[in-house]
């Protein structure tokens, strides 16, 4: 077998893995902090890609600025969605919160996807590159700068988020809410604001992922579906609400997808990932890395 093909597949897997980790971390935060089983993050990925496309290709902004704008745009959209829907629902929902919030995200996803179809028509809008050129690694294998930068952006965003959650007061407040909502409220944390912030951060993660992958996967109204599926696979593999597990889980899923696509064929990644999920559920239902956040299935 061709060695460079294997290296190339590994690189694709790494890149995909970083991307899935990014979205999966958003899902984990939503699950851990707000107990939302979210289906809408894939659509934020799509919106991020569109924002970056228009910023970069129409207005000719610097790629980094375009990606940043996508991040900010999806962050603001996240604030809007949380304040407009979830905040109202929380007052009414009570016991049925999990199912209701899940269905709400499903509706939002359906809504956003089809608004995109209406506005942008189902045509691919891609760019050839953010930065032209390739770098050669491992001797013979050339890898485009875009892919390297995308991987770098994924890593930087994840690290920044981790540092933010660990070392700042707001980050500590977010973690406190995820551990014990009532206790956090008694300690004087404004729960509503923390919810809005967490939701917006989760949306931003998806938006950044979509924007940084623009030259590899063009913007398309239905582009968010597959990443959302795989990100959920990551979350289930890593353990629900487990943020650091999501990184390793992302890499595993990315590799599995890249290799099964390369060596078995199109359509098979979905089958193989379902099989892996079955095995994990049978052997260790709490996920490979277990999970400290219990919320969703303990209540």
């Amino acid at each position: 077998m061709d060695l460079s093909l294997i290296w190339n597949t590994i690189l694709v897997g790494l890149l995909r893995g970083g991307l899935y980790s990014l979205i999966a971390i958003g899902l984990s935060i939503l699950l851990g902090v707000m107990s939302i089983i979210s289906m809408v993050n894939g659509e934020l990925y799509m919106i991020g890609a569109y924002i970056a496309y228009f910023a970069f290709a129409y207005f000719g902004l610097n790629p980094l600025v375009a990606i940043l704008m996508a991040g900010i745009g999806t962050f603001l959209l996240g604030v809007l969605i949380e304040k407009g829907t979830f905040r109202y629902m929380r007052r009414r929902a009570g016991e049925d919160w999990y199912l209701n919030s899940f269905l709400l995200t499903v509706g939002l996803s359906f809504f956003l996807k089809n608004v995109a179809v209406l506005l942008f028509k189902p045509t691919y809008r891609g760019i050839r590159w953010y930065w032209e050129g390739t770098v050669s690694v491992f001797g013979s294998v050339g890898i485009s700068i875009d892919r390297l930068v995308a991987l770098l952006i994924a890593m930087v965003s994840i690290t920044t988020l981790q540092l933010f959650l660990r070392n700042t007061n707001i980050g500590r407040a977010i973690r406190a809410v995820s551990q014990d909502e009532r206790g956090a409220m008694l300690a004087g944390i404004n729960i509503g604001n923390i919810f809005t912030l967490s939701f917006a951060i989760a949306c931003m993660m998806g938006g950044i992922a979509g924007a940084s992958m623009l030259s590899i996967t063009p913007a398309f109204p239905y582009m968010g579906t597959a990443p959302n599926n795989y990100a959920w696979l990551v979350v289930m593999l890593a353990g629900l609400g487990n943020v650091s597990g999501a990184i390793v889980g992302g890499l595993i899923v990315g590799m599995v997808e890249a290799f099964s696509f390369q060596f078995i064929g199109e359509g098979w990644p979905a089958v193989i990932s379902a099989v892996i999920l079955i095995i994990v559920l049978v052997v260790k239902p709490s996920g490979i890395f277990g999970s400290a956040v219990k919320g969703v299935w303990e209540r």
Binding site: L104, F110, L112, A274, L281, E298
Partner: protein
């Protein structure tokens, strides 16, 4: 455990009130509507409504949303499609075969996930659906993949009426089975599980077993409806197993009102028939659909059934 007063014929009829009215008016629609198109719309509405009703059996009672609903529907459809086209089996046997196949897959999914909490079932069923859809797309020599599998119609006649009444019988059958179960002692256990698993367990209900029953039945019914759909529509593509189909079903159920069983059916007529009529709008139609789901979730999670119940309470109060 208190015995749910049921099954006496009189109580049964009084419970049936509104649904019976719906079904009778439905059955008579083709008698005074000559237009084939409106008959078609009614049938499609009923098909979707029946699906919403079936998914309500899990969502409304054991609090599990089957996010792979379309896969069970599609599996039933493909089972009868392959059996009738390849082995020349009668469509009516195909209906039952489709039902059994989906039920089997339901048992398999249930065995894997029922001991875990609801979220796992939803996600697992969803991944099952994704895998099944991918498989039907890949295994071209069996399913013809994206080319589409042609399925022979169930009846020879040009008219839509035989299909219409077959579906009506299937719907009534499903409704009666679901309603009977819910009114029985088992149904009480279902509701207890849906409300609070721990309390249910504390009062001696084994959640895993009951959830398995409800989930398997719901899957089997989905397969039955799928098998009917296959013969009615005549061509199957892997699209039928897509998440979009599941979302439409769940949305209908939610709009109709969870836990009411007939609410989904009502929503089927009130939502699907006009939407089918507006098919040319495409994206706008789906935007309205998503928006409707969001609005109902945010402002009135009880859905149409909740509204009707509230009106009923109000009327009773006024009588006094």
């Amino acid at each position: 455990m208190q015995r749910a007063d049921s099954l006496t014929p009189r109580a049964f009829v009084s419970q049936l009130g509104l649904p019976l009215l719906m079904i009778i008016s439905l059955a008579t629609v083709p008698l005074f509507v000559e237009d084939e198109y409106i008959r078609h719309l009614t049938l499609v509405g009923m098909l979707f409504g029946a699906q919403a009703m079936v998914s309500d059996f899990t969502i409304g009672f054991i609090n599990i949303s089957n996010f792979g609903f379309a896969a069970f529907f599609g599996l039933g459809a493909y089972t009868t499609g392959i059996l009738t086209t390849r082995y020349g089996i009668s469509p009516f046997v195909g209906l039952i075969a489709g039902m059994l196949m989906s039920g089997l897959l339901g048992v398999f999914t249930g065995v894997l996930t029922m001991r875990l909490r609801g979220l796992y079932v939803s996600i697992m069923a969803w991944f099952m659906a994704l895998a099944l859809q991918a498989l039907t797309l890949v295994m071209v020599d069996v399913t013809r993949g994206a080319w589409g599998l042609f399925v022979s119609p169930m009846f020879k006649s040009e008219s839509i009426l035989p299909s219409f009444y077959t579906l009506l019988i299937i719907t009534i059958f499903i409704y009666i089975v679901i309603k009977t179960i819910i009114k029985s002692k088992i149904g009480l256990a279902f509701r207890a599980i849906g409300m609070d698993v721990d309390y249910a367990r504390a009062s001696g209900v084994n959640p895993t077993r009951y959830k398995m029953v409800a989930f398997t039945l719901s899957c089997a019914f989905a397969g039955l409806l799928g098998a009917f759909y296959a013969h009615f529509i005549g061509i199957l593509t892997p699209e039928v197993m897509g998440t979009q189909h599941t979302v439409e079903t769940i949305a209908l159920n939610v709009i109709g009102g969870r836990g009411s069983v007939w609410g989904g059916l009502l929503a089927g007529f009130l939502v699907i028939a006009p939407f089918e009529y507006l098919k040319s709008l495409m994206a706008v139609r789906l935007i309205i659909y998503g928006g409707l789901l969001v609005t109902v979730m945010v402002f009135y999670p009880a859905g149409m059934a909740g509204l009707i119940w509230k009106m009923g309470d109000w009327l009773k109060k006024r009588k006094r």
